[in-house]
């Protein structure tokens, strides 16, 4: 062990070159309030553009859940200048790839292009920021597409179904109780007018951050951004009600039955996110706690529950400190054959107890920190991921600089701090537990298995 201790410590102490490698971010603000973040990465002649809007499912109220995601789909359906589908065709013809994603706290649109094509994406993104045309026919079809997406991602996935219902129970009034894709009844009753309203309310330069990472010159990107986005008028943005979660007063449990083969357990403790945290070190200490539990094959859950006691076939723990509102510290797993969800729950709670009652060994702390530092270098291999991080941090209200600070803040966490956050937050009164209770999968009424059309048959 001694040698390992040395190696971990060595990674933390030695590589000044790595820290020096931390990339420079240029930050600009246009007169209309739009923020621009540019990070240079000259390894390949490529640039990724991402436009981040401060709107997502946690901005929605009852009855219109899923509207941010639905609007994201409609953003590809035409403006006054470009008819439906043309956005994608133009990006494609320029060799680009593009898409969009919606989360609890953001809606983001991206294109990856050869660097000289940056103006193409700027022109199109600026156009749809203010000039979207919501056509009823297009909306009717896209609503069906989104309902198919919901069936695909949630309704037919037992674990996703559990996850959705688990969130609805774990949260009483926080908007994190609603699924990003929306409740089916809400999604199927959204109207073009609802969407037009939502678009008017949130899609404006002063509610957006433009992130560009790649083989670019920040001053030139700024000029281009000014040219395309500069003329857009800002809006008066609505006040967002805080919707602070009420205090939980005891353990919550939920069981979801679904046709499935395996039981599954999810556990979530209510914890602060970095945004709005009373003590800034606490989220970083929670991050280290997650690493001690599930930072790879050498972490406790894999070592003790999958390999040692062989209670879990698979298990994981995680925590998203870049959330806009207080979030959940999640632990979940699948029991091995012959063990029950209750057995696994007990073993997981025992791991939380150990974390609470016993200080984390120096060697474990070093290993977690070593992985965080190496991971920081590895993630720079992807310009897309780098842009994602800057966009997320900015959009949830933290500012992009927190991305840079991450390694140092994690390094500063002590074993005592880990114990303190676990004592404070990973407690029963903040806990919700969900079980997936597998139901037999019906076989179907003897449908003829193989039927060849036109009387043919498959012979070989």
């Amino acid at each position: 062990m001694a040698s390992l201790r040395t190696l971990g410590a060595l990674l933390l102490a030695a590589p000044l070159s790595l820290q020096a490698a931390s990339p420079k971010v240029s930050e600009f603000k246009l007169d209309n309030g739009m923020k621009l973040l540019v990070q240079e990465d000259h390894r390949a002649p490529v640039a990724v553009t991402q436009v981040w809007y401060k709107v997502g499912s946690s901005y929605e109220h009852g009855g219109i859940t899923g509207i941010s995601h639905m609007l994201e789909h409609m953003m590809f359906k035409g403006t006054k200048k470009h008819p439906p589908g043309e956005f994608s065709r133009i990006i494609s013809a320029n060799g680009g790839s593009e898409n969009a994603f919606t989360g609890d706290d953001y809606t983001a649109y991206f294109q990856t292009l050869e660097k000289s094509r940056l103006p193409v994406s700027f022109e199109l993104e600026a156009d749809r920021m203010r000039n979207l045309r919501l056509l009823p026919d297009e909306f009717a079809k896209e609503q069906q597409v989104v309902l198919e997406e919901r069936r695909l991602r949630t309704d037919d996935q037992p674990r996703a179904k559990l996850g959705e219902q688990f969130n609805a129970v774990a949260w009483s009034n926080s908007p994190y109780k609603n699924p990003v894709i929306g409740w089916p009844d809400d999604v199927s009753r959204l109207t073009v007018t609802d969407l037009a309203d939502w678009y008017q309310r949130w899609y404006a330069p002063n509610n957006a951050t433009l992130v560009v990472v790649g083989d670019v010159n920040p001053a030139e990107v700024r000029q281009l951004a000014q040219k395309y986005f500069g003329p857009l008028k800002p809006s008066t943005l609505p006040d967002l009600k805080p919707q602070g979660e009420i205090e939980q007063a005891g353990l919550r449990r939920i069981t979801v039955k679904a046709p499935a083969k395996l039981p599954f357990v999810v556990m979530g403790y209510k914890v602060p996110a970095l945004n709005g945290a009373a003590e800034e070190w606490e989220p970083y200490a929670l991050e280290v706690a997650a690493g001690v539990l599930d930072g790879g094959n050498s972490a406790r859950l894999e070592t003790r529950l999958v390999r040692g006691q062989q209670i879990a076939a698979s298990v994981s723990a995680g925590y998203d400190l870049y959330a806009r509102l207080p979030s959940l510290f999640m632990i979940e797993g699948t029991p091995v054959q012959g063990k029950t969800a209750a057995d696994l729950e007990k073993a997981l709670l025992e791991e939380v107890r150990r974390l609470r009652d016993e200080p984390v060994a120096a060697e474990e702390m070093d290993r977690v920190k070593a992985q965080v530092l190496a991971g920081k270098v590895f993630e720079r291999d992807s310009i897309f991921y780098q842009a994602m991080q800057l966009g997320t941090a900015e959009t949830v209200g933290l500012g992009w600089k927190t991305v840079d600070e991450f390694v140092d803040k994690v390094n500063a966490v002590t074993p005592e701090q880990v114990r303190r956050v676990v004592r404070k937050y990973l407690v029963e009164d903040r806990l919700s537990i969900g079980y997936l209770d597998p139901q037999p999968i019906p076989e179907g009424q003897t449908a003829p298995e193989d039927r060849a059309p036109q009387g043919g048959s498959h012979v070989r």
Binding site: S17, A44, A93, G296, D381, S382, H458
Partner: protein, 440 residues
């Protein structure tokens, strides 16, 4: 461990991404003392290195023991040399390194990503070397990993998409070694023994059946030392024999399986092409128009954009060592399944009948050639590309000539190639869902 990895049909397949910057990276290659080929691309800008050792040891080598290649691969990092799974994990993660193992139908790999700082890289390499050459296959690890694989296989039965994929390969490949799922089946995995894995390992994890890809911020001398060190403990052995050719289907078939899901999952296709097929470029560019370019492709246009029938509707060629599949796929609510399949298949027929329009061809070429730089813009992507070139024996200038070959494709060639290779009257179609029941 397996449960996390299993739900993707093509996730680990060494897919030949039809790669595409105006010139590719300069690949240096040499043969190590014991016969293994080494491929090296130096990169700059980040102090990291990716190393991947690839063996012709995928599930196509399972014989009747379906799941053997996957389980063998899964055992490698659970004990090797003097170290058990805990020690291996600590050794690697203590220096921030990431090691992976996995298998596809054609190949199996052991990969390492590490910082280049020698004091960090060396222990990681030493660990990888033991994993490659001295895996323990201990009884305890074997029993545990097998049990966990079985759990993963049970979970597969929760997924209509996975079930459809399995049934599709079975129809397409019949008794060919590509037919069975690479993770195996409950009954075949149940029968596997530790000795089976050791035998498989000894036969296929040998230098003559291996190649090494190194991409990162190291120089040639370092790369030579890395490759020589890693492989020195592997016996020379012999390369795996050629795989049998795939027989084309005699007639169309339709397989319907009931599953109590809201959507029906559909795959439809025929055996397609090998890597390096002379018709590869017309088929690749043609399929880009047909179903391979996301929302702007014809199948997506017809199924999703015009009719709102599916969230995704695509078609792809997956070239393998021998004929990999051509497949079209979608998912839709049960009562529109038949309509969606009809639309998708008609789109294919019309495309083969009429060939691509000049405008469509131009648009696809622009997308492929204009996006070439993005296929090579990270270490990770370079490793994937070079590993494909190396494993399938493509020319080293493959990436340099790629754009020229795409640009040279004509509408006539596309139509001829599709007519020759894809018979829409021989499609093997699989539908899994509640709409697949005859009693709707």
């Amino acid at each position: 461990m397996y449960a996390k990895k299993m739900n993707v049909l093509f996730g680990l397949v060494l897919v030949l991404w039809t790669v595409c910057a105006q010139a590719g990276p300069k690949i240096e290659t040499w043969t190590a003392a014991n016969g293994a080929r080494v491929y090296f691309v130096p990169t700059e800008g980040l102090p990291l290195v990716d190393i991947r050792v690839v063996f012709d040891a995928g599930s196509a080598r399972d014989g009747a023991q379906f799941g053997l290649a996957t389980l063998t691969s899964g055992l490698l990092d659970t004990g090797a040399g003097d170290w058990d799974a805990d020690a291996i994990a600590k050794r690697l993660e203590g220096v921030g390194a990431r090691l992976g193992t996995g298998a596809s139908r054609d190949s199996a790999f052991v990969s390492l990503r590490s910082l280049t700082e020698p004091k960090l890289l060396e222990p990681a390499l030493e660990t990888m070397k033991a994993i490659l050459a001295r895996p323990s296959f201990s009884a305890t690890d074997f029993e545990r990993e097998k049990k966990n694989l079985l759990v993963g296989l049970k979970q597969r039965e929760e997924s209509p998409a996975d079930l459809a994929g399995i049934a599709f390969f079975q129809k397409l490949y019949d008794d060919h070694p590509y037919a069975h799922p690479k993770e195996g089946n409950l009954d075949t995995v149940e029968k596997l023994t530790r000795e089976d894995l050791q035998t498989f390992y000894r036969r296929y994890y040998v230098a003559k059946n291996a190649l090494v890809v190194i991409v990162g911020e190291v120089d040639k001398a370092q790369a030579e030392a890395i490759a020589a060190g890693l492989l020195s403990a592997l016996p020379e052995g012999v390369a795996a024999p050629a795989l049998p050719e795939v027989a084309p289907p005699a007639a169309a078939s339709m397989t319907r399986k009931f599953f109590p899901s809201a959507q029906t999952h559909v795959y439809s296709g025929v055996p397609g092409i090998k890597v390096g097929d002379p018709d590869y470029f017309p088929l690749y560019v043609g399929n880009h128009i047909l179903g391979g370019s996301g929302l702007v492709s014809k199948i997506s246009e017809e199924v999703r954009e015009k009719r709102g029938l599916s969230y995704s509707a695509t078609s792809y060629f997956y070239p393998f060592r021998v004929q990999g599949p051509f497949l079209m796929g979608l998912q839709t609510k049960n009562n529109t399944a038949d309509e969606a399949v009809e639309v998708m298949q008609k789109t294919l027929r019309d495309f083969i009948q009429q060939g691509p329009a000049a405008k469509e061809l131009e648009a696809s070429k622009k997308n492929i050639t204009g996006g070439f730089a993005m296929r090579l813009d990270s270490n990770q992507k370079l490793v994937d590309q070079v590993a494909s070139i190396a494993f399938y024996g493509l020319p080293l200038d493959y990436l340099d000539t790629f754009i020229g070959k795409v640009d040279a494709v004509t509408a006539q060639e596309i139509q001829r190639a599709f007519k020759a290779r894809i018979d829409p009257d021989k499609l093997q179609t699989v539908m899994v869902g509640a709409g697949a029941n005859s009693e709707k």
